[in-house]
Amino acid sequence: MTEIDCEQVLERVWSYLDGEIAEEAYLEIQAHVAECEGCGSKYDFQRRLFELVERKCKEGPIPSELKERLFHLLES
């Protein structure tokens, strides 16, 4: 196991998933969640939950007629 403990890992999981963490801490957390089953399971759930929210809330592409209308505005 690495030096960082479970509590420290779990309180930084969001920053880790957001890519908002220094490289050294990033590597420690990465190693920890790979080895520790409890943290790994929670980490995995968070990761998948973020993916789910992003996927479900993304809209399709802009309708082409709307895009045309916007660009048409510039011509006047």
């Binding site: 779990l10 999981v13 969001w14 759930f45 939950l49 789910l52 992003e54 916007l70 505005l73």
Partner: protein, 211 residues
Amino acid sequence: MGAGALAQQREHTAEDRERFEAMVSEHLDGLFGASFRLTRNRTRAEDLLQETFLRAWRSFHTFRPGTNVRAWLYRILMNAYIDGYRKSEREPEVVDQEDVDEFYLYSKVHESEDYRRAGNPEEVLLNNLMDADVKGALQSLPETFRNVVILADIEGFSYKEIAEILGIPIGTVMSRLHRGRRQLQVKLWEYARRAHYVGAEPRPGGTGSTP
């Protein structure tokens, strides 16, 4: 500033227009989606997008090439939204639940008898949450939290970019994002529990009887 004053507008050349179109074009899908999430309504989303587009065009001469185009456009979007669309809505009171942590949803599915009986509680939950559940949960958030969650979790901006887009300190971005995500989980759990996902699955000896 003065970008809104049409009288002061510089003459745009055809070349300006081409450069603007090329620059903005690839961001329109994202801006459209974000407009939709913010206004919760197709017509208002189109209006907001058009307003954003025109504001961007009027202040195109202030954009410094080489800086972050996407963040620049989203800052215009958020300002247009705040100026024009937010006033009509009453903000629900913000109540923070102290006992809610980052792993609220994880803990809830693991504590739930129904979900535990299904064998793999996280899997069942994640596979059964509907589009409408997730969108509904997002829309239920108080606006200050929702805006940050949209920018971070759907649009994928960094904390620093969000701070620039909204004109708030990074610490405030983080605190709103964390509170928003916690509340989102509370709401998702309400949907998941209400929908009886697990109970709806066929059980031996019963034909869809409700508990």
